[in-house]
Symmetry: C2
């Protein structure tokens, strides 16, 4: 199994290649991938090598070829069925996210506990009442759940999603979820990202101060 | 300098300790920190050791002590002045984020290019026109910029923020930003997070299938 941190980096490289491919770029070396992603170039080569042999030493990588290689190796070519739970401000923003057509998932429904929202739609996605979720998930074979409910409701929503067969959760509520081993839950925690940003900033600026 | 990846992990540990402290927990061992964060326990000990000596072997860590230790070492005790640019759906959601009072930053203004939004407020934060940003940033010594504009506008906004003295950027537009060395920009990329989620999910489920 590829280490999780390598999967993360490979996805970052994949996103870079996607942009370069669109811009018509043909060849890229690991040094430049490293520069553009902030990953050391030896690590770029190592991570890519986990997926098998590709590219020739000294010749760089063919952008399209490497893009397709990562795409199929990481199964990013599969379009996954997803639902979003909690159509508040953040939920609405995510349903209207402009890059969705290119993403490797598609929302097939949204759910909200507020009866006023039932039957409406957001970003072209129909909103159903929470009570309809269990049968919907089973019927449509939904794989991914995006949680944008208040934090006190997040665990119960996760439990319901998993009961309905969902095996991947992207959680925007700032609270860790307890899930069983075969379910992958990732949390996007705004406060954590801000902590990381300011901590790195402090160290970098301290270093710069010392240099003076 | 502590490696960036260790800073990231230390922030994850910090967030965990914050919750445990609130729950009244007194002592924790690196094994349990590892279990709850998904970081291997030897790595937990190594990352913490970057910040100097704390805890006694075999006795675990005092939760409050370790929390305060990381907080001061990573300068998370400082409340940073921040502005948000782009008060659309996502921007509004972030200005209304419930955990803000506990965060290590505070919004002091929001900016939007739409004149209709000028003078209004969102989450208690006043919205100003984009034209007012340059003098505002200088006058108030703003350190952090949160970018929630459409991707085609993100780089120009980043340039303006940096010109105004901002040295840390959290970018929600799915496009990498070019910034000079002394500025830290982090991108929160929803499609990337979904790629990582599904890729990890594929590998874990493949492994589970093989076990059968």
């Amino acid at each position: 199994m590829i280490p999780e941190i390598s999967i993360r980096r490979l996805c970052q490289i994949y996103r870079l290649l996607e942009r370069l491919k669109e811009a018509g770029r043909e060849i890229i070396f690991s040094d430049e991938i490293g520069e553009k992603t902030g990953i050391p170039s030896y690590q770029v080569r190592k991570d890519i090598s986990y997926l098998g042999e590709i590219g020739k030493p000294g010749r760089g990588y063919n952008v399209s070829e490497l893009f397709e290689h990562i795409k199929s190796s990481l199964k990013l070519c599969v379009k996954r069925k997803a639902v979003l739970v909690g159509v508040g401000r953040l939920g609405s923003a995510l349903l209207n996210y402009v890059n969705l057509p290119k993403a490797n998932f598609e929302y097939i429904a949204a759910f909200d506990s507020d009866p006023i929202k039932e039957g409406k739609s957001e970003g072209g996605i129909q909103i159903y009442s929470s009570g309809e979720m269990a049968p919907f998930l089973k019927k449509h074979n939904v794989e991914i759940g995006v949680i944008t409910v208040p934090q006190e409701a997040a665990q119960a929503v996760a439990d319901d999603l998993i009961k309905g067969g969902v095996t991947g959760i992207l959680n925007f509520a700032p609270v860790p979820l307890k899930v069983q081993e075969n379910v992958i839950a990732r949390c996007i925690d705004f406060s954590l990202e801000m902590n990381i940003l300011t901590a790195i900033k402090s160290f970098v600026q301290e270093k710069a101060e010392k240099k003076k």
